[in-house]
Symmetry: C2
Subunit: 326 residues, 2 copies
């Protein structure tokens, strides 16, 4: 059995309602008594029972985060930032790496005040009857407040930038799946940019990676290099792909950016910490985290407002991997 305010009350020789007040730093209790109570609480390493708190106040002061894909750098970066953001407030954050449905159920049991989810909204549609405010990160949706990362615009900006540097022979290395909206948006953004910017789209310009990790990027880049088509600039679909692309490029004896320019999706600090600081596009990870938390808090406070899709503007972060050509 864990320690409760009653235990503290007994030891302090006061009533438990006094303990409750002292613990909540109420002005209605004498500083000396307060001090004594706090001291005992500390010694017993007392922790309030959230279930009880929730029962009476209907607040648990906790946010649950659904995070099934723990091994992508961009996502874990955002998770870290979410944690920092939430710790700044009066809330705590708990994580689940189970799939969305399982995770949400568990969070319900824990009576979290709000849920943040990375997974696509398809996974959670059967939960629309839930009372708990849910906010989606990285998937726009009309049922829940969600963030639109404008991945297409991001890639568009990348192409635009490359064009401004004189590049006309490009390639996009990414994971082209139509069952994953996020990946598809980027692919589509690339196509659209080529067309709108008057760059001739050709099939060699698209390299499918079959995955989002470094090795996929490595393989894809090698495939590209073998293909005979030699673009002057590469657009990469993720941080991990970028890693693989750099490796393949180097192994082929090509220098970045002297021989080939590179720009990657995922606006995270780590892009600048690769062996060559990589120019990147995307919504900055800290902005994503900050916005997500703000939106959720807002939704918690005003559950009746209509769910909003918050657009975030992708930015380009120029580092050292793109070079102008004549």
């Amino acid at each position: 059995m864990s320690v409760t305010i009653k235990d503290i009350a007994r030891l302090a020789g006061v009533s438990y309602s006094t303990v409750s007040k002292a613990l909540n730093d109420s002005p209605l209790v004498q500083p000396t008594t307060k001090e004594k109570i706090l001291k005992i609480a500390r010694e017993l390493s007392y922790q309030p029972n959230i279930a009880a708190k929730k029962l009476v106040s209907n607040k648990s002061k906790t946010i649950g985060v659904v995070w099934p894909t723990i091994n992508r750098v961009a996502l874990s970066t955002i998770v870290t930032m979410l944690n920092e953001e939430i710790e700044k407030s009066t809330y705590s954050m708990i994580l689940s790496i189970s799939k969305a449905e399982v995770a949400i159920n568990m969070f319900k049991q824990f009576q979290v005040d709000g849920i943040l989810v990375f997974e696509s909204s398809h996974e959670i549609h059967n939960h629309s009857n839930t009372q708990i405010p849910i906010t989606l990160i990285a998937t726009s949706d009309s049922l829940y407040p969600s963030i639109d990362l404008r991945r297409g615009d991001a890639i568009y900006k990348a192409v635009e930038y490359l064009k401004s540097l004189g590049h006309r022979e490009l390639a996009y290395i990414g994971h082209l799946r139509n069952d994953n909206d996020g990946q598809f948006e980027k692919y589509f953004g690339f196509t659209e940019a080529l067309i709108r910017l008057g760059l001739n789209p050709r099939s060699e310009m698209f390299v499918n990676t079959e995955g989002l990790y470094a090795d996929h990027g490595y393989q894809a880049m090698n495939k590209l290099l073998d293909s005979g088509y030699r673009p002057t600039a590469i657009v990469s679909g993720s941080y991990e792909l970028t890693q693989g692309i750099i490796r393949a490029t180097k192994e082929a004896g090509l220098r970045i950016p002297e021989d080939i320019s590179l720009i990657g999706y995922d606006h995270i600090p780590q892009m600048g910490e690769l062996e060559i600081p990589v120019t990147a596009v995307g919504v900055p990870s800290n902005l994503i985290a900050k916005t997500a938390v703000e939106m959720l808090f807002r939704y918690i406070d005003h559950p009746d407002e209509k769910p909003i899709v918050q657009r975030l503007e992708p930015e380009i972060c120029i580092r050292e991997t793109c070079r102008a050509i004549e």
Copy 2:
């Protein structure tokens, strides 16, 4: 206000305890009444208040995992396996990436039934008075049940294996900090192996990385290659370091294992998925996860048993990066 069993009771014309029983499908209530109650509950779309349920049952069937370092592959691999292992049982798993003390406090508030922690025991010593069963992964300690990964033995096995292949000029690339027991164990294991196996320890054989990530390995390997000392085999302290070492080696035009052998610490599947499948030592990650969960469950069921330090035997997983020399 949401609907409670009292509302149902009023509408059904019974007492609320009868409703409670009916809802829990107790045999102590007449089928007809039960039916009626269930029907009303459905109509009102009654949702039980889990906080209240929890309060009275005082069981959460949940394990909390303290995981402050989310960006090391070996750790996230183990976390994934822990989740699988725990999902097999009747328990759920929640994670916190806050530092140990904060995380443990939060878990206490949620009344988790047990806690698994990755952090070193120093961080949690002030919690020794806690009532919740805690089990340490990857740090041996006498206050809590914990797992001893025998990192020293693992490195010893690596050296032994290399010696059996004829190598005598070795190097250890790792993070030598004496404030981190785990890293120190490996370093020490290397030294001891050299001595006990009659290989002459020399200072060039130790390369300090100043960190545990790929870039640290890359820098360290370059430093080593520049130093003039040319070992025939390298022992690496972690998965990420291994990545960096491979890159540096390749860039230097050296082939693995033809020109130099490599063996890494961290017995995780990913070691076999690098561009060259890397021979590795360590306790297999799935064994670590399985053992940790077993130990914790055992501790939960028998809280009075004396905390045990469970030794796990490191294994060597031979892949393709070590070669015999004449």
